[in-house]
């Protein structure tokens, strides 16, 4: 388990991370979502023990991380722009990481290199950007650490590669209890694979919730009531997050479960009624609009 308490980090005048507290449990896929500049990379680097927080604590399996080799052995950090030694090739990088991570699986690494068509003898500085990311990912996966911290790693991969990597992550999660932590500004990308999502905005945490939990507890209903009384009857006691009306058509976003909504509307007289699916973006907007933040950038990004 990775525990972060009141983490704060500033760079000169810029407060990049502001009192961030998050818990990342084992064997789940944790998505760290935020627009550019929200503080995701900074948080990941503090978890990696590479950056020292100004205040607050970061522990990995109850061990403080900074300058702590025992804790760092559990982590592998993949930067958004992966670094490789000058003039090195995949083979050289494997030799380096094998020396650093005692559980590095060399056989697996070379097998993956072959199936992803990456030439182990070719100079990495001749690789395309996408290939460099692929290589970094494979090195990280084969290091067999408990936690894999990915900084916008998926964002540079082609769709086929993305599916391939997801499949490998699934295997590693099941076989050895890997916990991937994936930072991204692309909600749609993470929606399908994350168990838990932490939303960062301007250095602070807007929410940290289990995805299924969030999805189950917000419903969107579109209906036409038979009368104003029926509308009042339907909505009384319900937490309405958003309400739109076009003529007699009402669209509500409420905090409730599907069953509660179905039970309630069974007793209400409606001319038209349907439950609409909510996209993750809509759920996020509903959850955070209450606090007044504008996160539309996450949808376009």
């Amino acid at each position: 388990m990775i525990e972060i308490h009141s983490l704060t980090k500033s760079f000169e005048k810029i407060k990049a991370v502001d009192e961030v507290s998050v818990t990342i449990k084992d064997n789940i896929v944790f998505g760290l979502i935020g627009t550019n500049g929200a503080g995701k990379s900074t948080v990941l680097r503090m978890i990696s023990g590479v950056l020292k927080p100004d205040s607050g604590t970061v522990t990995v399996d109850h061990m403080p991380v900074y300058d702590n080799v025992e804790a760092k052995k559990q982590l592998f950090f993949i930067a958004d722009e992966p670094y490789f030694f000058a003039n090195s090739n995949a083979r050289a990088m494997e030799r380096y990481y094998s020396g650093v991570y005692e559980n590095f699986d060399r056989k697996e690494f070379y097998r993956y290199l072959e199936s992803f068509n990456l030439d182990k003898g070719r100079k990495i500085n001749t690789y395309s950007k996408g290939m460099k990311k692929q290589l970094a990912l494979l090195l990280g996966i084969c290091a067999h650490t408990k936690y894999l911290l990915c900084d916008e790693t998926f964002d540079g991969l082609d769709p086929v590669m993305r599916q391939g990597v997801k499949s490998i992550l699934a295997k590693e999660m099941e076989e050895r209890g890997l916990t991937p932590v994936i930072a991204s500004h692309n909600l749609r990308e993470l929606e399908d694979i994350c168990d838990h999502v932490g939303l960062l905005h301007k250095g602070g945490v807007l929410l940290s919730r289990d995805l299924e939990d969030m999805k189950c507890n917000i419903q969107k209903i579109q209906c036409v009531f038979a009368s104003v009384e029926e509308e009042l009857k339907a909505l009384s006691g319900m937490e309405v997050l958003k309400k739109e009306q076009r003529g007699s058509l009402r669209t509500f976003t409420v905090r409730s479960t599907r069953e509660e909504v179905a039970a309630r509307f069974a007793t209400v007289d409606t001319v038209f009624y349907e439950v609409l699916p909510l996209s993750l973006e809509e759920i996020f907007i509903s959850e955070t609009e209450v606090v007044g933040y504008d996160i539309k950038k996450l949808i376009l990004g």
Partner: protein, 117 residues
């Protein structure tokens, strides 16, 4: 075996549950046949294994599969499942029948349509 439709707005685990239910009820999977392992299915579909666990837990809860510790999950031998499904479908059909009768179709017309199936 299982195909995920990403455009479908239902959660992925629900789709998995539905597809396995259909396979089992239609006889494509036999009683006591072994279900794919969570690991293999997660790899094949490139999805989070926790999602598969959730789907299997739901299938077990509804009585479609059972789990043997250390060995995996297997299809139930319960013939009552087909009856349950028949009743589910009947409920939905009757709701639709009500609606179509409400907008003006006659019962005779409806029966004629069914007989032509």
């Amino acid at each position: 075996m299982i195909v995920i439709d990403y455009k479908d707005t239902r959660p992925i685990y629900e789709q998995i549950v539905e597809r396995f239910k259909t396979l089992i009820l239609k006889g494509a999977m036999q009683s006591d046949e072994q279900m794919p392992s969570v690991r293999n299915l997660a790899m094949e579909l490139s999805i989070n294994p926790n999602t598969i666990q959730k789907a299997y837990a739901e299938l077990e809860r509804q009585g479609f599969i059972y789990t043997v510790k250390g060995r995996g999950s297997f299809v139930s031998g319960d013939s009552g499942l087909v009856d349950q499904r028949k009743r589910e479908y009947m409920g939905k059909i009757l709701l639709l029948v009500e609606e179509v009768l409400e907008i003006g179709m006659s019962k005779a017309e409806l029966i004629r349509e069914i007989e032509m199936l």
